[in-house]
Symmetry: C2
Subunit: 143 residues, 2 copies
DNA sequence: TCCATTTAGTTGATTTTGTCAACTATTTTT
DNA sequence: AAAAATAGTTGACAAAATCAACTAAATGGA
């Protein structure tokens, strides 16, 4: 593997880290922290699910997650009930209020990205997607 | 702009955030924190430079940077001297020890990436670089 | 020149974020 | 039934980041 190649990939990584940082900024104007937003996102997509599942997906400390999730419950964003199969674990899901909050963040995030990409012509946008798709394919090992 | 397009870009962003997170992990085995490593990186590339310059480039709080940089000085990684033109600002540069530390981190980082990409054939590697270059072009506004 | 304003950097206080280990209550294994 | 493993909680702490007040120097007028 060529050294120069690695340097170029690193340069792209630095570049894209900046882009992602830019996009994460919108969260600072919301009442949720980045990790909270991430939990909300995964809850939306995984529900119903247990804390352990979220820990595995997000790679977050379980103690930390426990607090985040307790906060959500206090705010009425989620419901929790003990699993009947395994009384150690709880089954979590977003309440309609939780879904609303998620939708708010999610839409703001999409809007921010839309804005960031607004200068792209439809054809350039298509190109962008092709490149992204290809990178994802290339970096997802199995084949 | 199509809604679906935005969703796809967001999916790529999530995917790539994971990749970058994976790569950042190597830092946890080094005696430097992520922000310290970042400062070291920028010092290496910008030196000689002032704290204000680093603040602008990295987008870091100046108080925070001040502490990081003071720590570096105590460890003998950098030298500082008052600028003659403007006695408020200091001109910083890496010492040879600082350069050595930077090189260690930098090489470890490159090695980690090399490892991550080791399964790519030379031709796939070339493809990857093409896509990255194109994305960078597309997202760098001016033209 | 003098004075007000701006700028570079430091410091203390505080908040936010994340980590770790101990602990309870269950479940699984043997 | 005892031992080991697992889910989640909690307290203590450490690391990362923010903010405002402060010193010292520079700058831009009146």
């Amino acid at each position: 593997m060529k050294n120069k190649d690695i340097q170029l990939v690193r340069e792209f990584n630095r570049f894209y880290t900046g882009i992602i940082g830019l996009l994460d900024e919108h969260i600072f104007q919301s009442p949720y922290s980045l990790p909270e937003a991430r939990v909300l996102y995964e809850l939306h997509h995984q529900q119903p699910c247990s804390a352990t599942e979220l820990v595995q997906i997000i790679g977050m400390d379980k103690g930390y997650l426990s607090r985040v999730v307790n906060g959500f419950e206090k705010k009425g964003l989620i419901t929790r009930r003990r699993s009947k199969k395994d009384a150690r674990s709880t089954s979590m899901a977003l309440t309609s209020k939780g879904e609303k909050e998620f939708a708010l963040i999610d839409q703001a995030s999409a809007a921010q990205l839309t804005n960031l990409l607004s200068f792209l012509s439809p054809s350039k946008m298509k190109d962008l997607l092709v490149h992204m798709t290809e990178i994802k394919k290339l970096l997802t090992k199995r084949n």
